[in-house]
Amino acid sequence: MALTRSFDAPGLYFQSRTRWRLVEIVFWLATLLPFALLPDYLILASQIAITALFALSLDLILGYAGIVSLGHAAFFGVGAYAAGLLSKYGWGEPITGLLAASIAAGIVGYATSFVICRFRHLALIMLTLGFGLMLEELANSAGWLTGGFDGLQGIETWKLFGHFEFDLYGYVAYAYSLAVLFILFVFARRLIHSPFGLSLRGIRENYVRMPAIGAPSRAHIRTIYTISAAMAGIAGALLAQTTETLSLDSLGFERSAELLVILVLGGAGRLYGGLVGAMIYMIARDRFSGVEPQYWYFWIGVLLVTVVMILPNGILGGLAKLAARWSRS
């Protein structure tokens, strides 16, 4: 009997991790509240959902696989421009646009993953930064295609499912972004709580030893990097489709750095870290939108220094610590 139980143990472990907890259900139900309570803020809510998806994609590689990326906005930008260009040149159907964007970003991610998986530490950070900057330069110099500094104009998104038109108040935009976020969140959650997700965490802790217990570090990193890139591409496409404008900032270094801030603020290596971070960050930015952008960056800087010095695991990490202390006493 004891034998069968020990065979079942891994299965039981994964089962206990994947069970939906009450807090999570309440969280997702609460995301529906803006429709009823804050109809004026639906545009902001859809921006938050998009940013949350983008942060979730970074969390997969940074929080779980330990790949510090300073160029993740590149994939966001590839997805955004793929969807934007598709729509500009005559195909504005949103769902297929998302698919095309995820394929485009996924291909770029897959191609770069062969380089990414071979390096760690400074060289890795430099390579991600280099790829990001290279793409930014490329988009800038290919002005005939991307519109250069003026941004891409003339994006027109068709009705969702041929029925729901993207309205000014953002009802459809928020419902659409939220649905995509939820679907991909469930996917990421499943992925993280699978044996593959567990071996990613092993790679984060020790890159060299994981192959010794049968987890090919490089192949796993390539897989997760590609998935993360495709997800970031979808987030970019959502932004292009719902706002119908695109500029070069969508793939710049500042955006990559901002995303790091968001994820770390919420808590890297936690599924809800990016979501919570995106919510707090975007709401704060909306509140302080009257502040000049350069001073806004001052507060981001202060926030970063504080988070690193005082809250090393982000807001969710701090809360988890408090909860653990509370339950012990």
Partner: protein, 287 residues
């Protein structure tokens, strides 16, 4: 008569020397403590603004402001080292990156608040703006002086590191930090001094850079990329590596912008990625 390519080479080399001054400190401190300091160019920017402020508001001569830029950047950087960096030497890459990006953002905002976002002109005296004609090519006096300063500093650095007791400690700490500690070398103090020297050199580089590339609050971010390229291509902890990498980068950047302006900085990033893939520890990296 010399063909114009020599002009490009000269300008590129001068630019490379500037990059060398900006990045040599970063290279040595990174090699020693493995601390990823993205705020290095913030100290360079501080040096630049020091020079601009002293010259425009107090009428100091240009050459008198250079030591000031060095000292102020060095002193301020030591303050940051004591206050923040020291606690994160054993932390993860991510924490180091975040802390120092935070400092970069703060420094950019503070610079914009005090000095405004526009480019700062430098009221240089006439003789520094003139140029010499040699074999039909014009060489800017300012660039010649800059190259001379950079070469003198390189010689001084190499001599210090190779022949003094302090240099021996630095080399020991770069080669094997734990072993150096075991032999009774005060690595923390050595590091603090090296860090101050490196940031001071960055401050000096920043002061010299104003005339060549201009100065606005985004300096700390723009040149960070160049510094990181020099460091990672030259190899951690290698002065000669940084020198060669900076010269190569400067020449290829100027040549790229001169001959193929359409692709801009693209070429540099491509060269960096290819070099990193070929030799991840840099051209002269030992470890």
């Amino acid at each position: 008569m010399l063909p114009p390519i020599f002009g490009v080479l000269f300008d590129g080399f001068a630019y490379g020397m500037l990059l060398f001054l900006l990045s040599v400190g970063q290279s040595v401190t990174l090699g020693m403590m493995n601390f990823i300091n993205l705020a290095h160019c913030s100290f360079a920017m501080l040096g630049g603004y020091m020079t601009v402020a002293l010259m425009t508001h107090y009428g100091w001569p240009f050459f008198a402001t250079l030591p000031c830029a060095f000292i102020v950047a060095a002193v301020v950087s030591v303050g940051f080292e004591r206050l923040f960096y020291r606690r994160l030497y054993r932390a993860s890459d991510l924490d180091q990156v975040l802390l120092t990006i935070g400092i970069v953002f703060i420094s950019v905002a503070v610079a914009a608040y005090i000095f405004g976002t526009e480019q700062k002109p430098l009221p240089l005296p006439e003789y520094l703006r003139s140029s010499l004609t040699f074999l039909g090519l014009r060489f800017a006096v300012y660039r010649l002086i800059m190259i001379a300063i950079a070469l003198a500093i390189t010689a001084l650095l190499v001599l210090t590191v190779e022949y003094t007791r302090f240099g021996a400690r630095v080399r020991a700490a770069v080669d094997n930090e734990r072993m150096a500690r075991g032999l009774g070398i005060d690595v923390d103090r050595t590091f603090a001094i090296t860090f101050a020297l490196g940031s001071g050199l960055a401050g000096l580089g920043g002061a010299l850079a104003v005339e060549i590339v201009g100065l606005d609050p985004s300096f700390a971010l723009t040149y960070l990329v160049y510094v990181l390229i020099v460091v990672s291509v030259g190899g951690l902890g290698s002065i000669s590596g940084s020198f060669v990498a900076a010269a190569l980068l400067g020449i290829s950047d100027v040549a790229g912008k001169y001959y193929v302006p359409a692709i801009g900085a693209f070429l540099i990033y491509l060269v960096m990625i290819v070099l990193l893939m070929w030799r991840p520890r840099g051209l002269f990296g030992r470890r």
